[in-house]
Amino acid sequence: MKMRRRLTLRDLVDEALSGVAARPSRLALTTLGTVIGVAALVSTIGLGQTASGQISDRFDATSATRVVVEAGERDSPDGAVQATELPWDAADRVARLSGVASAGTFARVAVGGANVRGVPINDPSGSIDHDIPVTAVTEGLFDAVNGVLSTGRFFDSGHDERGNAVVVLGRYAAERLGINRVDAQPSIFIGDRPFTVVGILDTVSHRSELLDSAILPMGTAESLYGLQAPAAVEIRTELGAAQLIGSQAALAVAPNSPELLSVEVPPRPGSLRDDVSTDINALFLALGGLALLVGGLGIANITLLSVMERISEIGLRRSVGASSKHIAGQFIVESVVIGFLGGLIGAAAGVLATVGVSVVQDWTPLLDYRLAVLAPFLGAAIGLLAGTYPAWRASTIEPITALRTN
């Protein structure tokens, strides 16, 4: 028995390429489905990754570094209600933990019905009553909530310790009081007690009620209004340290009864992004997959048509020694080539679409480069699947039948 002679792979690919290239308009039509499918897949995944990247960027910047400790209460086994108060130095205790960028305490101050006014109580019109809330914070809180002043400065720990009558106004409170500059050291009155305005708070990332209120140093609120204890500790952590700080903060603040404090931490790092990404990607993947299925059916359909059109070519090839396997191989490779080309063009189109949409949306395009590399091979795999049936049909055509057709 002689050695079985076979077509070399290069010859097979050459034949397939020539067969594909012989009908350029047909090629365009055949690849269209795969181009659309792969482009849809690449751009949807790309846009999914890009979009969820933007979403998580936003979360990362603010929420992911915020930890809040509040005093809580709970029912003890004997039926009594156990409560705890935050210590005055709660912020300092927390600040000692490594991973804390800044911390400060916050409290609402009951001023006994006194109104906040821009002028003394003997205002002749008597009508300018402002229902402005009064709050108290320590110096560190401004930093912890990313406070930005529009003018003036924050009070400092010296004001706090001395119980000075100074105030920082939230921007809305300042508007209502008609104060927009502090260089002339304007005063406001809470009841009949004057306070010097040292700054106006423009923005905060959390606790936006501060913007509506008159903000006193914690020590001032304690000495003038008998504030009992801070209500909450606001902590801004280093990026990625929120989980750790969340687990340590309660013990640091109240070593004797940490379980009585409530600690609010951001979702586990990455879990938010993952959730969003998975949802979006699942949807997009389904859409892209559907488009690919349609593309695959398109290849199968047109390859089948091509087999029928080229029956006499099949007959000829059989007459010059091609076995049925050679015929099947040729059509398979042709449809793999078509799928690969479609995948290549589709990947390019998908990347372009991702970049284009990102530019319009002012996003940073995020695309896993492996996707762009894999896409042509995905196209080839689809070509392989799609070409199997037409190739099998081609291989079962009897040479004498094929040669009779012309």
Binding site: T8, S319, A322, L403
Partner: protein, 234 residues
């Protein structure tokens, strides 16, 4: 190879004994019945017969494109009836050259590539394929057409390309089915002259035709009527 340089008497190229081919109906057709045919090396044979008499069916059997329903067929002394399809395809590529009435050239492929196609499944190295294709085209007088698209050639030129394709693999047997059926008289002469030339070069040729003028050029004529073969006077 195709020459008869062996000292021992070489077997006939074709040896058919009691070969028949029927197509299961309904109605069943006995296209070829009980044919005994031997073709010696270097012979130039014509097969004549009316339309539907079984000429093409016989040619397909001779060329291993089809299997007989009964009888034995030895090609170059090898009984091919029992061989696997893949093996028959290989033998076909190696030993048989076909020329068809309809030329069967691949469109959009150059004349050279069309000729080279015959060696594609024989694992002849690429470089050698090109060289042999050029030589074959020279043999049929088309050296100046190697890079043409077959679509731009005349009918006679196309058939000569097809003949070059059949020759290039150095077959034991050249089979032509109505090779002049689509040609005008000038081109018929050119093709017949070419067959004469190939015959004198020692190639075994079997030509199917219903044209007496064509069959008259062959050294031996057989007639097939209703599937039954008989020797005929030249």
């Amino acid at each position: 190879m195709t020459t008869t340089s062996d000292a021992s008497p070489s077997p006939p190229v074709v040896e058919m004994v009691g070969v028949g081919r029927s197509f299961p109906g309904p109605p069943q057709v006995h296209a070829v019945r009980d044919v005994d045919l031997a073709i010696d090396r270097g012979e130039y044979l014509s097969i004549v017969g009316p339309s539907g008499s079984g000429k093409s069916t016989l040619l397909h059997l001779l060329g291993l494109l089809d299997r007989p329903t009964h009888g034995t067929y030895r090609l170059d002394g090898v009984d091919v009836s029992e061989l696997s399809e893949a093996h028959r395809a290989e033998l076909r590529g190696e030993r048989i050259g076909f020329v068809f009435q309809a030329f069967h050239l691949l469109p959009h492929r150059s004349v050279l590539e069309n000729v080279g196609l015959s060696m594609l499944y024989q694992r002849v190295p690429r470089r050698e394929r090109v060289q042999r294709s050029r030589d074959a085209l020279e043999r049929v007088g088309l050296a100046h057409r190697v890079d043409f698209d077959p679509g731009t050639l005349s009918g006679g030129e196309r058939q000569r390309v097809a003949i070059a394709r059949a020759l290039v693999g150095e077959p034991s047997l050249l089979l032509a089915d109505e090779p002049t059926g689509n040609l005008d008289s000038d081109n018929v002469e050119a093709v017949l002259d070419l067959f004469d030339k190939l015959h004198t070069e020692g190639i075994t040729v079997a030509v199917i035709t219903h044209d007496d003028h064509v069959s008259a050029r062959a050294g031996r004529r057989v007639r097939i009527t209703d599937g039954t073969l008989s020797e005929a006077a030249v």
